[in-house]
Amino acid sequence: MALRAAVLRHIRLPVQTLTPNASRAPSQLSLLRLFSSHDDHLTKEEVIDRVLDVVKSFPKVDPSKVTPDVHFQKDLGLDSLDNVEIVMALEEEFKLEIPDKEADKIDSCNLAIEYIYNHPMAG
């Protein structure tokens, strides 16, 4: 009986602490962000490293030219079709699906890093 009470208290505690948070959350999105912070969210450094690795491994890219500040088409000599391929490769690396509207805007390492770092589902 004492054990049962102890277990119940333990189960109830996290629920009670969560409820006020959930009701305060203004939108679905911030709720997602709240959940994503439970598991270890990617650090900025990790995002930068992995984005640069994906870009460097792209066949047409000279890896020595790749820095967080490069523009895919202006600095790396890629065209808009390559740009699509790189963004698709980033989607796979971080297990995301980037909608067309967003994907069209990502044309540099910096924008890719920002988008992925701010994405709650990036893994």
Binding site: Q73, D79, S80, L81, V84, E92, D100
Partner: protein
């Protein structure tokens, strides 16, 4: 059509890139070996057209977009395992 160099994209260019993205997404759902083959055929076809088709030839580009969308729908079917079963290849023959 001329692959663009970072300037603002026209609506038609966005449609082409969106179609290309659609093909690459559909290819992901196929077994690895088929996927590589599909990707190389699709990529070659888009690049060939981007060099050969005049960027002002809107009617022809619209035709290619329509044809591409139909082919993409075919590719999306789980029964389609490769592009040998549709006419995306650079030749225009039906197969």
């Amino acid at each position: 059509m001329g692959a663009s160099k970072g300037q603002k994209l026209s609506g038609m260019q966005r449609q082409v890139l969106s179609l290309y993205r659609g093909f690459l997404r559909a290819a992901r759902l196929k077994p690895t070996e088929d996927r590589r083959q599909i990707e190389s055929i699709v990529s070659a076809e888009f690049r060939r057209n981007s060099k050969q088709v005049d960027r002002k030839n809107f009617l022809y580009i619209e035709y290619l977009l329509r044809r591409g969308k139909k082919q993409l729908d075919q590719l999306k079917s789980p029964d389609t395992i490769g592009l040998s079963s549709c006419n995306v290849s650079s030749s225009k023959k039906k197969c």
